[in-house]
Subunit: 342 residues, 4 copies
Amino acid sequence: MVKVGVVGYGTIGQRLADGVALQKDMELVGVADVSPTLAVRALKEKGMPYDFYNALPENQKLFDDAGIKVSGTLEDLVQKVDIILDATSAGVGAKNKEIYAKYNKKAVFQGGEKNSVADVFFHGYANYEKGIGKQFLKLTSCNTTGLIRAVDCLDREIGVEKVAITIIRRVADPGDYHRGLTNALQLEKAPSHQALDLMTIMPHINATGILVHTPVTHGHIITVVATPKRKTNKEEVLGFFRKHPRIRVVSLAEGFLGNASLFKYARDLGNPRGDMYEIAVWEDSIVESGNDIMFAINIPQEAVVIPENMDAIRAAMEMQTDRLEAVAKTNEYLGMGKWMQK
Amino acid sequence: MVKVGVVGYGTIGQRLADGVALQKDMELVGVADVSPTLAVRALKEKGMPYDFYNALPENQKLFDDAGIKVSGTLEDLVQKVDIILDATSAGVGAKNKEIYAKYNKKAVFQGGEKNSVADVFFHGYANYEKGIGKQFLKLTSCNTTGLIRAVDCLDREIGVEKVAITIIRRVADPGDYHRGLTNALQLEKAPSHQALDLMTIMPHINATGILVHTPVTHGHIITVVATPKRKTNKEEVLGFFRKHPRIRVVSLAEGFLGNASLFKYARDLGNPRGDMYEIAVWEDSIVESGNDIMFAINIPQEAVVIPENMDAIRAAMEMQTDRLEAVAKTNEYLGMGKWMQK
Amino acid sequence: MVKVGVVGYGTIGQRLADGVALQKDMELVGVADVSPTLAVRALKEKGMPYDFYNALPENQKLFDDAGIKVSGTLEDLVQKVDIILDATSAGVGAKNKEIYAKYNKKAVFQGGEKNSVADVFFHGYANYEKGIGKQFLKLTSCNTTGLIRAVDCLDREIGVEKVAITIIRRVADPGDYHRGLTNALQLEKAPSHQALDLMTIMPHINATGILVHTPVTHGHIITVVATPKRKTNKEEVLGFFRKHPRIRVVSLAEGFLGNASLFKYARDLGNPRGDMYEIAVWEDSIVESGNDIMFAINIPQEAVVIPENMDAIRAAMEMQTDRLEAVAKTNEYLGMGKWMQK
Amino acid sequence: MVKVGVVGYGTIGQRLADGVALQKDMELVGVADVSPTLAVRALKEKGMPYDFYNALPENQKLFDDAGIKVSGTLEDLVQKVDIILDATSAGVGAKNKEIYAKYNKKAVFQGGEKNSVADVFFHGYANYEKGIGKQFLKLTSCNTTGLIRAVDCLDREIGVEKVAITIIRRVADPGDYHRGLTNALQLEKAPSHQALDLMTIMPHINATGILVHTPVTHGHIITVVATPKRKTNKEEVLGFFRKHPRIRVVSLAEGFLGNASLFKYARDLGNPRGDMYEIAVWEDSIVESGNDIMFAINIPQEAVVIPENMDAIRAAMEMQTDRLEAVAKTNEYLGMGKWMQK
């Protein structure tokens, strides 16, 4: 059993902890954060299913006042585990790395950190082999993770030369009050970092794109114009996507009208927190543009990176050395692809 | 074991079914709807935890095409149960009532139906006794249900003469595409129906109010200016609210900044669908205005009526004849008030 | 002086009337609508700068009660003019056409009507010649009008083979309460009608695309992936756009962060109603994707079609037979391209 | 002619400048700001109708690069005027005050500054006399300004003992990208500062209230529960409001459905920037609550304070010593109350 700790118990950290708890070959030792946030208070109200470690000793009184049981410090947690999933705010991970290094532990950082924090920029499906045995890995961000799933899927089937993407980005998560946008679309300087990140992971593909923030909270939508190495068509592409356990093919006729339908569906499924690990591709969105193929995917930003983080543990800890065996284990424990049996 | 059927498997119907399934003295026989909506498709993907009945025979092919197992017609379901919870669209319940009457079954209708559909307009805490043994009950709507909880709480303690409310209403549920509002506040003609409904349930109180729709999906906020029968103060009122198992007292300092924080917290708690049965009162909102007391409550519109629907079954079926025994059973099975033990 | 009437005094109709009033070689005879809307009430409060005609006689009492001076019926207006701009709700124009035909008058319909209502589907810059002398013209919709401006600009310079577009669509206009979307992105079946419409106007170009509705009111953003007939680059494309009097090149550094910045700027300019006739291209959005060029444009949906409607009058009435002379007249009277002198 | 300068050319500053330019007994000498914002760039595109002064000399190159003509420094402007309207960001006014004092000039600060910056906290209708001849005045914020108009109107007619308000606040202005809220209502600690501010201006009234931020941009809505000194009723109160030149009585039947309708109507009126100086009261919102009267008002946050700022100049400069003569002059030049002649 690989022993895992989660540092930073926010939107991503909570879901990482839940994901690890589902892996039968991993043990979640505990989670750490710096203050009694709502997520930590919820942990208490649930009866502390996960041990909690205080990463900021001077805040101990805040935890005491809130009646939250603290099992130790960040260093205590680090010493007890084999590997850390660091989901702290951007930049904090780089500082925490010193502690991980001090105890010679492995760590997986999230997309907000700089690439230089890690030995390898990692994606479970696209470059699993590069992560094997490494000490420090950095995951792609939510948009890039989901985007690469789709592009890698096509690339392995028919080869992809280039992609031009438009990211219609949700601007905040449900419950966020520290950021927001009201009645406005906001453009970022092109090319978007997601396109550049894709090229870092998949250097043989030329990628560019434009990102526009929109005032919604339930999932990004990305349109992809992909130039394959050979002519393809809608039916063939649909077939590729349908076989992928981390991609759900949906349609308007079923009632999937947009990002909010997918969030609703995940809630209706009874998924914890209403989360969804898989990206979705709309059948109705796939069109041909000359030799190019164009389609739209949905990225459930809160949970989409969880599977690839589990893959990262597998690679770093050399739990599996075969890419497909590794992702299959993650998929099995997370219940991914169950919809394919319909 | 009282046998219950749920007709209409939408936002409310799904949650009613889940609520009944949690009552150890009730049995959920099945749910019915008219087409393979996302909620019904989710039922299938979950492996049909509840039997499904097709309320519109001409749509049978749609269910077959979607691979959804149908256990019978609406009349089949009605015959198998003691009582129906009807959560169909406004106006449909009145038609369905003929079927319930035909088989001499009891039924509980939701707030969207006209009062004339039922023998009594019901609220678990405020007028439980009126529902005992009745055949047809109508529940108050989400806003009214939550509002009455708070007003009834004060009224039983110190008496309430009048209330003037401002309803800051969420305009749609997460996942709704058939209604919405974009960058606008919308006023309705005053007095709001919620104030009038409160007076129907609590005729000794003078109530009026103004309702404004706002473009959000996660919970209504109502401000209440209440005139008590005797002078009170913030601390006393807080004490009343803290003792009520369907009211959660929250504060800005804890991180509850608005309706979205409560939705987030319910997700963090791992509540199914991220639902919350209790209303919240903000400690920071309570102020005195002369002899009046003013405060703000949060109404989680999707799930708030579930407890009072369980109460309605208890009253109609005469499972308990004592108000407090009845609501205590509902509260126990739904896990309400657990936060009070902190 | 060509005599013009405007039928339908809503969002587009009001702006058409203002646009005609600015053309020194046209006379606005009057405007017509069917009820005393806010737009009509504003006309009264402004002292009736335009004569008003009642297109629905049975509503005369409503106008009388509101104190609005009515100068006649729809047929009265039609008889007084040379050409009608019909900006009624989709489908109404087709009925009104019978009246226009009865008096042998010309008419210009808007994008909501079916193509069959007209002799030609028209765009001022792209196919002016096809509209010359025609009786019935139909304009492209707001998105298509703006999109064609940009694509036609490139096409006339270096040739365009194909375009793949992503339309990030505003879902309602400011003040709309009859439609809206709340915290959701909504996909439409691809290919979008705007891509198909572009091919009707410019049949030598292969176009496809995906449309996503977003909950905002101040302007659509379209990303365009264009395949030119020869290799080009960002600087060259910028040069093409900068010379076009109906395209404004903007940048993030100047403060144009998104669609809401353009609306704000039009208000700051003191433009009537805060309107903007020109589309905008973000300098920061232009990127190369292999031989393709990708960029983002902003479409101010309320006013963008006004110039092309003026062009349509010029074509139908044969006021100018040369395309560039015609659009130059429109541009001069609307003050378009003033920003180019900076 | 009183010579006026405007310092801070943002949302409020632009409208103050326009307002001063309309006063026939005032002269707008110029406006000042610190960088070439969109508002300043629009000034240039309009041909510099107002002289511009650079309040931050080290930014001179930015203005030169943007081609904006600069007429001097902030101190240059201050020396040329009799009085300054300071509409800078909160806290900057307090620093600028040193310059105004150095040259012994008068100044009017906006609601964002601390009360201590000024000799008097001022409202044109409610306490004009207190501002007469003062050197430094501070205006109430947008919500408080509009609220006081309505409460003062009632108070002068029948006396008001106390008010309990609910502010449904727009969270950002159109075009704002530096703040926003997405799909969330946000509560502030009660009592709201607007209630406290009202009591500073009208110390004989007991006021309290709750403020909730909502994700919209076009106007706040405030519900007021007012306790008058004697029993009144809806018709009487309507009559009071109808006589007030800075209050517009509107109804749902006319089409005024919410804050966005009022913004739309101001645009339809052709008001510069689509601005509205008057608050609105919905006829349909007025209800009686025992002896209390309840109603809803709309506050157009961008322009509502302009009239009271003009009043402030009149008071400080002793242009009129009679309250009603002063506000009548402001109203005449701003065209307020024109709707009353219908």
